[in-house]
């Protein structure tokens, strides 16, 4: 089994954490069983932690625990790597662990449970951000749209969601991951067009949905705009060998040599809202 040393940077900078994600998964063949060595880690941000969890669940890969007792306790608290699958488990966990949210696994086959679990997660995200009046739609919209995409487009059976708030720095990291067919394959399967990973991301941003219904294709673009323009955050979407990274003032397509993620990873960071946010200007 391939051995992958996980050594995240000391810096919690969003781009540096993206770099850590790249370092972990580069040179892993799709579906390959690996052993993630966490022995040198003292902390993991959601953008690194959740893809590792999702990959382990998909491929039955293993991990070596950290030498640091605190991170091991944290990982146990958030139910790494398998997460929780039901409202009951979420509520039980929330009662016991007031500060941390568990990794939540939404399953295609349990639609009603899935919607309730997603509701609980979104409520919790809003609460830990301080329940700022009239900011809830800005918190709910990206999560709702990006999770819906998993079950509308990915053909994957599960969606993984996780969030971590940093109270001293007052920002929230959210990560949403699937191990489905990915963007490029979705366009190939649904529209019979052969495009690259980069072109697939561009099509998504332009609002070219794979679905034929009228007026679709708004989910990712509006979510990115709410996160970056509405909330002043940073947004990353990755599929295959390319990522989009977006801030309030810029967006870049980033090629990832010797790397390929089967599915989609979305990660974003939002500061604590300081007042009401009108998301509707970004939804038209």
């Amino acid at each position: 089994m391939k051995h992958i040393q996980v050594v995240p940077p000391n810096d919690d900078d969003f781009v540096q954490q993206f770099g850590a994600l790249y370092s972990v998964f580069k040179n892993i063949d799709s579906g390959e069983q690996v052993e993630f060595d966490l022995s040198q880690t003292h902390w993991l941000h959601p953008i690194v932690l959740l893809p590792i969890a999702a990959y382990m669940v998909k491929t039955n890969s293993q991990y070596i625990q950290s030498g640091n007792g605190d991170i091991n306790t944290y990982l146990q608290t958030i139910c790494f790597p398998h997460g929780i699958h039901s409202v009951t488990e979420f509520e039980k966990n929330a009662q016991m662990q007031k500060s941390y949210i568990p990794i939540s696994v939404l399953e295609r086959k349990n639609e009603a449970e899935r919607e309730h679990l997603e509701t609980l997660f979104e409520n919790m995200m809003y609460k830990i951000l301080g329940s700022v009046p009239n900011a809830q739609d800005a918190v709910y919209h990206p999560i709702s749209e990006l999770v819906t995409n998993i079950f509308d487009h990915s053909k994957g059976e599960k969606g993984f969601i996780f969030g971590q708030y940093y109270p001293k720095k007052e920002f929230l990291d959210i990560c949403i991951v699937d191990t489905g067919r990915g963007l490029k394959k979705a366009y190939k399967d649904e529209k019979d067009i052969e495009i690259s990973d980069e072109e697939a991301i561009q099509e998504v941003l332009k609002g070219h949905s794979t679905k034929p219904d009228k007026e679709r294709g708004y989910g990712v673009r509006t979510s990115k705009d709410v996160v970056c323009k509405g909330l002043g955050g940073k947004f990353l979407m990755l599929s295959g060998s390319v990522a989009l990274i977006s801030t309030q003032s810029s967006q870049e397509s980033v090629s990832l040599p010797h790397f390929s993620w089967q599915g989609v990873i979305i990660a974003y960071r939002i500061p604590k809202p300081m007042g009401p946010i009108d998301i509707y200007q970004y939804l038209e």
């Binding site: 079950f151 007026e215 989910g219 038209e284």
Partner: protein, 120 residues
């Protein structure tokens, strides 16, 4: 469905935050069960409806209205202000779609160059 008011309570039927298109579409079965020509989707206790779910609600409303047989009118009731606004935004786009998709200005880079730029 409530027997007395011909209403489908969305918070109970789906959840307090409505995101999924597939769950909205499944309400069609409930609507068609009704013997009345008009059905209410009651949004009491619903906190938020995503743009995608709002689109699905409106498409379902249109589909039921345009049927040749067993036509149904769907009314949305007890919506909070944000849900009303979401429906208005989506309905306006359905009525007057923007013909032009947004311009995309995307710089291109690779991971190594990006990481160097933030470590300077």
């Amino acid at each position: 469905m409530s027997k007395t008011t011909n209403a489908i309570h969305i918070a109970q039927q789906i959840a307090k935050i409505v995101s999924s298109r597939d769950l909205v579409y499944k309400l069609k079965k409930e609507v068609l069960k009704s013997k009345e020509p008009s059905v209410q989707f009651d949004f009491t206790d619903v906190e938020f409806v995503s743009r995608s779910a709002a689109h699905e609600f409106l498409m379902l409303q249109e589909e039921m209205q345009n049927r040749l047989f067993k036509k149904k009118t769907i009314q949305f009731t007890n919506t909070n202000e944000n849900i009303k606004q979401m429906f208005r935004v989506v309905a306006a786009n359905l009525a007057m779609p923007k013909n032009q998709k947004p311009e995309l200005e995307l710089k291109k880079t690779d991971i190594h160059t990006l990481l160097k730029s933030v470590s300077i």
